[in-house]
Amino acid sequence: MNVIVCVKQIPDPASPGELDPSSNTLKRDGKLILDESDGYGVEMALQLVDTAGGGEVSIISMAPNGEVSGMRTALAMGAVKGVLVSDPELAGSDALTTAKVLAAAVKKIGDADLVLAGTESSDGYTGTVPEQMAEVLGLPSVTFAKTVTIDGETLKVERQTEAGYDEVTCPLPAVVSVTAGVVEPRYPSFKGIMAAKSKPVDTVTAADLGITPVGWAGARQEIVDVAQAPEREAGEIIEDDGETFTKIVQYLDGLKVI
């Protein structure tokens, strides 16, 4: 079974993120690392291939400046090859363009039984790319997967909901987005890190994949304003006079949780 995992390479969350004032987009000019939420997708893919007893895990990514540091982490974990779409023209791309580019990268690798992605990335996100990519590819889409099992040609997913989970089945191939924390991503071994350096990563542009227009030109959205997130308001302190529970009940009732 062959699995393709979409991975995003993001600025290190340990250092504070910065916006480019000219475009109001996140600065991504430094070293990028593998988005933690995509580590789950990579791990799940490796486990599915292990269980199937054959096949391979490939990764695709879209990042500026030919950046592959984050992809190397996924390759060190056990993925065998990757396609990186890196192109200055892609700056300013919206979610749909990103989905089209990633879908084209999936087709470039080809022969995928399953495409996995994180539910959403950690730096800048809409949470819609996996579903849009499925539509572009004409494949079924399952979101918020907390477990994924393969039974012959059928995919079985436990899909996280607010109340619990739904059991979903769908035919393969399919695009599945996985929630964070579903599996424990393995730590790359030193041998894996060394091997990752010689694994092939094919770097292509949007034009190579036949996707135009892209970037600001292809975006159907624009960033008109950026505002500071409001500061958290101080909580309300209630002195206990023996009847406090009624106020707690009123408060919870106001939140519609009881």
Partner: protein, 327 residues
């Protein structure tokens, strides 16, 4: 010649640091100290699986065939997280001494935990968690041995007095006759110096974090010059100890003629830096630093134990002196 760590060496250290940040937190170290054993088998298995334990073992033994230059940054990361258990003894002493023997593959895979006691003190570090202990006489198989816990200030490096156990020699020779024990001690001293540097960096981070949070006279105490100077002086000592430690690792790896001088310079400076840092970090913390609940105490005790292991500051200073004056 380029004297800098290569990309692999930095990537290995980064990967280890990330793993330890998640799998060897202060509360996990505290739990290992509290249980009275001083070893975390699950963490040991992870270290072995990653390739840390076998870094200095040849590939034919399941190791990575690395040199002390490849390992020195790993020891620094192990020290930053004050990883409990015989990492220095397994990686720097027993592993390389037993390379090619029937024990080596087990050490690399993490299934055989080895420790070492080369000075005949009778107090074996990590005795109760190890399967074998390398002594000057030979390799002591601890199965069936009686071990009296002799405690020690460092809960992640408990000492034990061993009685009995089967001694395995090196084809009819003692360890002291079969291998260069001074070279083994030098590897241990460099490893310990790097470990102390990592532990010191963690203490400076802890004290810096505390100085940003703790307010006095309406300001964070870190804004006061006297507090800043304490930490800056400590950091200076740690930075000054780094280059000699990396140099010592290179001298060990290449068998340089001045290896004794370089190793002793490194250990003496790392000892002093770690000792000064522990005092500065305690001073910045104030009374809370003395409490059992403050994590700082774990790092301080680790440093106090290790600055006496594999040569005290004065012993190494004398060795530097005789190496320099005799040349």
């Amino acid at each position: 010649m380029r004297f800098a760590f290569d990309e692999d060496q930095r990537l290995f250290a980064d990967a280890l640091r990330k793993m330890l940040a998640e799998q060897c937190t202060a509360s996990q170290v505290r739990a290992v100290w509290d249980d009275g054993v001083g070893h975390d088998p699950a963490l040991w298995a992870r270290l072995a699986e990653m390739g840390v334990i076998g870094m200095l073992l040849p590939e034919t033994d399941g190791g990575l065939g690395g040199s002390m230059v490849d390992a020195v940054l790993l020891f620094r990361e192990l020290g930053r997280a004050i990883v409990p258990g015989p990492v220095i003894e397994s990686m720097a002493i027993a592993g390389p001494v037993l390379a090619g023997s029937k024990w080596a593959a087990g050490i690399a895979s993490g299934e055989l935990v080895a420790t070492a006691e080369l000075d005949g003190t009778g107090h074996v570090p990590h005795a109760s968690v190890a399967h074998v202990v390398l002594t000057p006489e030979g390799l002591l198989d601890l199965a069936g041995a009686e071990i009296d816990d002799a405690g020690g200030i460092d809960g992640g490096r408990r000492l034990g007095i061993v009685r009995g156990g089967g001694l395995v020699d090196h084809d009819g020779r003692s360890t002291a006759d079969a291998v260069d024990l001074d070279a083994a001690r030098d590897r241990a001293a460099v490893a310990t110096a790097a470990y102390l540097i990592g532990a010191s960096e963690a203490m400076i981070d802890m004290a810096g974090e505390y100085a940003r949070q703790r307010h006095q006279f309406g300001k964070p105490i870190g804004s006061f010059q006297a507090v800043k100077h304490l930490l800056a002086d400590a950091l200076l000592k740690v930075e000054f100890a780094k280059a000699p430690t990396y140099r010592a690792a290179w001298s060990v790896a290449t068998g340089a003629a001045d290896v004794a001088r370089d190793v002793s310079m490194a250990k003496a400076l790392a000892n002093e830096a770690a000792h000064a840092t522990s005092r500065a970090a305690m001073q910045v913390h104030g009374a809370i630093g003395y409490t059992w609940e403050a994590d700082l105490q774990l790092w301080m005790k680790k440093v106090w134990a290790l600055e006496r292991a594999y040569g005290t500051t004065s012993w190494h200073r004398r060795r530097v002196s005789s190496a320099v004056l005799s040349s």
